[in-house]
């Protein structure tokens, strides 16, 4: 029998339903495993074992009561879940990986979290992240780096590195992440798990601590497309608290009953197979595309001509928005306040001490890009090019249903591998940024390993609000392969 911590969401829910395992047993098993292995991985910033055990116990009691009454059960009742530490969980310390929020306990739940709590989940703790989700390795956390479960000398990717590592290490059956420029997909790829970045506006951003507001999205990481879709569907939908969330009905699951990919047109953009990409990454992705073809998909070479502009455009727009989003951390109402001589001094010292170097770098970049005399040349121009990138996708989706592409140029790199070279780190995002800029959904899933047994991922991008198609394709792929079932030996 599989260890219960290795359960998929589907298996865990079945086990809970049949009484094979209680939520309390399951939660205890995860907490024990975390306690044992966490020192080697450091996937969490904050663990909430007491609340989790109490929640699990309550879930078991509720299950008994509802069963007795013959009433319907919440769909995820008693399922343990990890939450990235940029999503607000009521009364639980939420740091964003930053010193400046070291003691911040939000008085409310993020809508995404609240919806899953309503569905019955039990929160195990808050996972590590690059500070304010700014990074691609989880090295920029004020609370220490997270190690990749496949090779603990390597990064798990980022910024949702804690969530990806937690799922890969079987610390939780699934975890919430966020994706502003690839922060769900790239760590999913590095850690060999499945992760969705939904369409912009599909999942409420309320309670997601903002980095780049026009790019941020709440996603899920899990062990299979089916698992990820189950949780995604429960988070999706319009939220009156988020004016950018859209009132679109949640589709029927794409995974259900999907047997083949006949009729699916898969576009392969030539701009994503560039020089400098690790040959094994390209090889695994091309093999995966062949698997899709074998399942009946039609493969079409396409072009997304403005892809190379995504990087400069993103690194103007996201920092510009961040420079305003992070202005609220001023020491006045919450978070860190340093000793000071007057108000300006308080602002400068609190922010100087509270923010790490990457956050400061992006605040400065963004402030500069918005400054009088530079706005048109930088922010204004970036917005114009962004519309071209979006138009690339609109054009492509006239002839294909999904776009298949690599996620990152390489597999997981060594901790400290990019040293002090922020540009090398920014290049990690080159394949993931376009989906955020265009607002389209992207689904990452494992498609094999390199020679060092490090996972390689592939992403499928789709039309806005057609996550269903991505799940269907990935599910069919996962029926035909078992890369997603591989777990690291730790």
């Amino acid at each position: 029998m599989t260890e219960i911590t290795a359960f998929t969401v589907k298996e865990a829910l079945q086990a809970l339903e049949t009484g094979q395992v209680s939520s309390l047993e399951l939660t205890k098993a995860y907490l024990e495993r975390i306690q044992r292995l966490e020192p080697a991985l450091h996937a969490f910033i904050t663990l909430t074992p007491d609340a989790a055990l109490a929640g699990a116990k309550a879930a078991d009691e509720r299950r008994a009561q509802l069963k007795k009454a013959g009433a319907a059960l919440p769909p995820l009742l008693g399922l343990p879940l990890a939450v990235k530490d940029v999503l607000c969980v009521k009364d639980v310390r939420t740091t964003c990986g930053s010193k400046i929020l070291e003691n911040f306990k939000p008085p409310f739940n993020a809508t995404s979290v609240q919806k899953l709590l309503n569905a019955g989940v039990v929160v195990l703790g808050k996972t590590n992240t690059d500070e304010f989700a700014m990074g691609s390795s989880t090295e920029n956390s004020a609370y220490g780096v997270t190690h990749n479960p496949w090779d603990t000398e390597r990064v798990p990717g980022g910024s949702s590195g804690g969530s990806a590592a937690a799922v890969a290490a079987c610390f939780a059956p699934a975890a919430l992440g966020t994706d502003t420029g690839g922060s769900v997909r790239q760590p999913a790829s590095f850690c060999g798990v499945t992760g969705i970045k939904p369409t912009y506006g599909r999942v409420s951003r309320y309670g997601l601590i903002a980095y780049g507001s026009s790019l941020d999205s709440v996603g899920v990481l899990g062990r299979s497309a089916e698992d990820v879709e189950t949780i995604f569907r429960l988070m999706a939908g319009f939220d009156p608290r988020d004016a950018t969330s859209l009132d679109r009905p949640v589709d029927e699951p794409g995974c259900a009953g999907a047997a083949d990919l006949k009729g699916l047109r898969v576009g392969v953009p030539k701009e994503y197979f560039i020089e400098g990409i690790q040959p094994e990454v390209e090889a695994r992705v091309r093999e995966a595309i062949q698997v899709l073809a074998a399942q009946g998909a039609q493969i079409v070479e396409i072009s997304l001509p403005h892809t190379s502009y995504a990087l400069p455009v993103y690194y103007l727009i996201a920092p510009a928005e961040a420079s305003a989003n992070l202005a609220r951390y001023d020491g006045v109402r919450f978070g860190l306040r340093e000793e000071n001589n007057g108000v300006i001094d308080m602002f400068m010292k609190s922010r100087g001490k509270g923010f790490g170097p990457e956050v400061k770098r992006r605040i400065m970049l963004g402030t500069y890009a918005l400054s009088a005399g530079y706005y048109d040349a930088y922010y204004g121009q970036a917005q114009k090019v962004r519309t071209l990138i979006k138009a690339d996708f609109e054009e492509a989706f006239k002839s294909v249903d999904v776009v298949a592409a690599p996620i990152a140029p390489t597999t997981a790199f060594k901790i400290g591998g990019h040293g002090d070279d922020p540009l090398a780190m920014y290049l990690e995002d080159v394949f993931t940024l376009p989906a955020n800029l265009a607002g389209v959904p992207g689904l990452a899933f494992p498609v094999g390993f390199d020679a060092q047994k490090l996972p390689v991922g592939m992403q499928l991008m789709g039309r806005p609000f057609e996550e269903r198609t991505l799940f269907r394709a990935a599910h069919v792929y996962q029926q035909a392969t078992d890369f997603h079932k591989q777990t690291p030996a730790i």
């Binding site: 607000c88 903002a210 026009s214 928005e321 305003a324 918005l370 922010y379």
Partner: protein, 485 residues
């Protein structure tokens, strides 16, 4: 140097607190700035907590549209919110959500009335934004600190910006009063300047009268009353004129009006100007006011003061001063028009006379609002006098009793037997008995001392205990006196 050598160009920026129940971007209540305890009308959104998002208050948008329409503005089908970035402890998010490039209303005008006649002042734009919190600076035994109250943070504001089309203090005051009147009329704002519901800033420059190009302008903030505005503008006009007459140059500055010293003080020079780094607010989609919405708001607009004025002056022949007293409060107009509806036969002028004199005097003394008075009862009183049931002075007494007791005028008249004596035979005998009782005065009158007629009239009215119809008494007295000649 001659006074008329320079001419001022003055524009106003007015911040108006919209009279919504809840704040601009969250559901917190808008509370009284003075009586509400600090930080009791706050939530994670208006405190700028991490993770929160703004949602537009539709009611604020509607009030802003109303104001825009009343100011003859174009209403943008699509307007865009922007972030105005600066650090200050009363600004929770470190940016203010405002509108910048694409305001809700633009290209309007307002007609003002001055001693020189009617004048058109162009309104450049009116845009929505959120208010800041309020700081209180403390000093306890030499230790200074500041307290932050966020009750006001996020209260909806409409910023109305005029073109520099005003040239005199009179025009500035006319514009300000008329703007306040319109906003109160529409229920857009309480316009309560003492509570900061309406805050004025002036920009002012001067140029030689024969010069086409505007001079260097200063901005004057902190004009918390019409009086302060008047003094500050006169002060700046004098200062700039002196500077220019000397051949000096006016410096571009932001000034504040100091009530204590009756002068403007420099707050900021051009070099310290902020770079607010405006950019579109990514948390809010563009604000779309489509045609059905705009039409619905239009349809809900009441008749505006200008139309009332024209109607009252034209159809009803009311005088200008009375009209202004009516339209300055919408409640007055409502009362007046309710009276007209209840008594269509009465001359509107008669109603206005009673209303603006005796009724207002009583309301003033008793600190009551006009909506506590029943217009139907009020016109019954006016009719009783108009029809001669009681005379004018009895009418005043009945009015007071009616207001105090709530009884109908007819009940009061009945109970006290105040019916006016219009019976001719009764008045004839009253007059003759008075003439008989005062032979000396009658003789003097007949000898040419004609003023004694008034005295004799008074005697008759006293005998009648004021109930006699004065017109009938006057005629009868004159008839009998003439007969003695």
């Amino acid at each position: 140097m001659a006074n008329n050598q320079y001419k001022a160009d003055i524009g106003l920026e007015v911040h108006v607190e919209l009279a919504t129940r809840s704040k601009m971007f969250c559901s917190c209540a808008v509370v009284d700035p003075i009586s509400a305890p600090p930080n009791t009308a706050v939530c994670p959104v208006c405190c700028g907590m991490p993770g929160v998002l703004p949602v537009i208050n539709r009611n604020a948008v509607e009030l802003a549209i109303k104001a825009g329409l009343a100011l003859n503005c174009q209403i943008a089908e699509t307007s865009i919110f922007a972030r105005k970035n600066y650090f200050y402890p009363d600004l929770p998010k470190g940016y203010q959500i405002s509108q910048y490039e694409y305001p809700l209303a633009y290209d309007g005008f307002m007609l003002i009335r001055t001693s020189q006649g009617e004048k058109r002042i162009r309104v450049r734009r009116a845009h929505l934004e959120e208010d800041t919190g309020k700081l209180t600076h403390m000093n306890e035994n030499g230790e200074t600190y500041s307290l932050v109250n966020l009750n006001r943070a996020g209260v909806p504001l409409l910023e109305i910006v005029s073109e520099p089309d005003m040239h005199t203090v009179e025009e500035v005051l006319a514009y300000s009063h008329e703007l306040r009147l319109l906003l109160r009329w529409l229920g857009v704002s309480s316009g309560d300047m003492e509570k900061g519901s309406m805050r004025f800033e002036a920009n002012l420059s001067m140029r030689p009268v024969d010069c086409e190009e505007l001079g260097t302008r200063v901005e004057v903030k902190n004009l918390n009353s019409f009086r302060a505005m008047e003094l500050a503008i006169l002060y700046q006009m004098k200062m700039q004129e002196e500077t220019l007459s000397r051949g000096g140059k006016v410096e571009q500055q932001t000034l504040g009006w100091s009530e204590a010293n009756n002068k403007t003080v420099v707050q900021r020079s051009k070099e310290d100007a902020n770079d607010y780094r405006y950019f579109p607010e990514p948390d809010l989609p563009p604000l779309v006011v489509d045609s059905p919405w705009l039409q619905a708001v239009k349809a809900s607009m009441p008749e505006m003061p200008a139309a009332k004025r024209a109607r009252y002056a034209g159809e009803m022949g009311l005088n200008g001063e009375d009209i202004e007293r009516l339209v300055e409060e919408k409640e007055n107009v409502r009362f007046f028009e309710d009276c007209l509806a209840a008594a269509p036969a009465l001359n509107p002028k008669t109603i206005v006379n009673w209303m603006l004199t005796d009724l207002f005097a009583w309301l003033n003394i008793n600190g009551k609002a006009i909506d506590t008075v029943d217009p139907k009862l009020f016109v019954q009183l006016v009719e009783a006098v108009d029809e001669g049931v009681i005379n004018q002075s009895t009418g005043k007494e009945v009015l007071v009793e009616m207001l105090e007791s709530g009884k109908t005028p007819s009940a009061i008249i009945e109970a006290k037997g105040l019916h006016q004596i219009s019976d001719n035979s009764l008045i004839t005998s009253l007059v003759s008995s008075v003439l008989q009782a005062n032979p000396k005065e009658v003789q003097s009158y007949l000898a040419g001392k004609e003023t004694l007629a008034n005295w004799l009239f008074g005697q008759v009215m006293r005998e009648a205990q004021g109930k006699a119809n004065p017109q009938v008494v006057k005629t009868e007295l004159q008839r009998q006196l003439d007969a003695m000649k």
